[in-house]
């Protein structure tokens, strides 16, 4: 039972990755669709996409850091 924290950290890291994956996947899909509809707006859309991806990734990384803390407490 001592290593149950490790299982928790592993599951947590996986869930954080799934969440970020879904988020960034949906974001990129919409961004690429918009770019295809309005190619002249590509620059602005790409900028907004990277910015939002950074935010989503930031949330996932919070999760990962907490999992790391659980492993190496």
């Amino acid at each position: 039972m001592e290593n149950i924290g490790l299982i928790g950290a592993g599951i947590g890291a996986g869930l954080a990755a799934i969440g970020a994956g879904i988020g960034i996947g949906r974001l990129t899909a919409s961004a690429v669709e918009s770019m295809a509809r309005q190619p002249e707006m590509s620059g602005d859309i790409r900028g907004a996409m990277i910015l939002m991806a950074a935010f989503i990734e930031g949330v996932a990384l919070f999760g990962e850091v907490i999992c790391l803390l659980a492993v190496f407490q």
């Binding site: 900028g47 910015l51 950074a54 990734e57 930031g58 990384l61 919070f62 850091v65 190496f72």
Partner: protein, 375 residues
């Protein structure tokens, strides 16, 4: 073309092989390869700039070859509550003096009547550490670590590089850029036009110097961190936290009247909700820079963990040299994956520099904003 491509491939392979260094064998003889110890040895900050281990040709009592470490020993400078300010040229000199001992990259006072074992060089396990270390003495460690030295080196490099570019602009006014100018101009223009002007408007010129310094410092640190023999700077949370703190100060100093009103008394919401909104807004003041620091730290650390874990696969499968077939079997897989991850890391190095700079600019822009819609 093929020659150029294969040269690049060879260069990248050499860079990735730089991670495969001989492990410390001067500590106690270990039966099995300890992956987390190796990972942390390479990722954490240290007090010796360990470059390489040279085989001496001798063998120890277990029949293992003995390596002589080649390292740059950094000085110790700390304030101790027992004897005041102390300075030692290196760890060896400190242990010779016998009053203080370095243990797990921290300095401790040696208890009365105890002495540092002669064979202990500052890394590995210190036997009877509870008896030797006197925990009651408080020590404020000010010594420059590997990361600190590396930060200064990168600072000097950037000052030299960018001031030489600036000089050549002054000298070659109105002419096409030449040499280093051609490399730096698009990057500087990108930061100024696509980050500063985009989010800060007409005040972009005022913030461009800070944003440019931030961008180049993070980018260069990340790139140096990927090379062998260099310290992992942005994988150190203290460094990213310090950068985020600078951005935090800049955001607050440039806050407009509307920014503070929206923080402490959100207009246009029912009066009962205002205290709750204030709590959330004040928290978000701090969460923004904390997220900046953690994002950069976690991205760079994750990359280093990936690369090092893949390289450690060789040692794991090879069982530290006992299973040569396993080591050679996993080696191509490990090298190919390391190469792929390192290529990704080169991109991540510049993307993280971009995101940190961009978010700083966005937050400053948000703080400077004045709202004319008073709901």
């Amino acid at each position: 073309m093929i020659i150029r491509k294969s040269l690049i491939l060879i260069l990248l392979t050499i860079i990735s092989c730089g991670y495969i260094r001989a492990e410390d064998t001067d500590s106690t003889h270990s039966e099995e390869f300890n992956i987390s110890e190796t990972l942390f040895h390479h990722i954490l900050d240290s007090h010796d700039w360990h470059l390489v281990d040279i085989p001496t040709g001798e063998t120890d009592a277990h029949g293992d070859p003995v390596y002589k470490p080649v390292a740059l020993h950094l000085p110790w400078l700390f304030y101790s509550s027992k004897t005041g300010l102390e300075f030692y040229a290196n760890t060896h000199a400190m242990h010779e003096a016998g009053k203080y001992v370095s243990h797990h990259e921290h300095v401790y006072a040696v208890a009365e009547g105890q002495s540092v074992p002669h064979e202990y060089h500052g890394h590995g396990e210190l036997e009877n550490s509870e008896e030797i270390i006197d925990e009651s003495v408080t020590i404020y460690d000010l010594s420059p670590s590997k990361t600190v030295v590396q930060i200064f080196l990168i600072g000097l490099l950037l000052v030299w590089l960018l001031s030489s570019v600036a000089k050549s602009y002054a000298k070659r006014e109105g002419q096409a850029p030449k040499g280093m100018q051609s490399l730096m101009e698009p990057i500087i223009l990108f930061v100024r036009d696509d980050i500063a002007k985009e989010y800060l408007g007409e005040k972009a010129e005022k913030f461009a110097p800070y944003l440019l310094s931030l961008f180049f410092f993070i980018w260069f640190s990340n790139m140096f961190g990927l090379m062998p023999f260099n310290s992992n700077i942005m994988g150190n949370i203290s460094v990213t936290a310090a950068l985020a703190f600078l951005s935090f100060i800049l955001i607050q100093v440039n806050g407009s009247k509307d920014y503070w009103r929206h923080t402490f008394a959100m207009p246009g919401v029912p009066i009962a909700i205002v205290p709750l909104m204030t709590i959330i807004e004040v928290l978000s003041l701090f969460i923004k820079p904390i997220a900046l620091a953690i994002r950069l730290f976690a991205n760079i650390t994750a990359g280093h963990f990936m690369v090092l874990s893949l390289v450690c696969l060789i040692f794991l499968m090879g069982e530290s040299g006992k299973n040569l077939g396993g080591a050679f079997g996993i080696m191509p897989v490990s090298i190919v994956f390391t190469l792929a991850i390192l290529t990704l890391e080169v991109i991540v190095a510049i993307i993280q520099a971009y995101i940190f700079t961009l978010l700083t600019a966005v937050f400053i822009g948000m703080a400077r904003e004045t709202h004319d819609d008073h709901h």
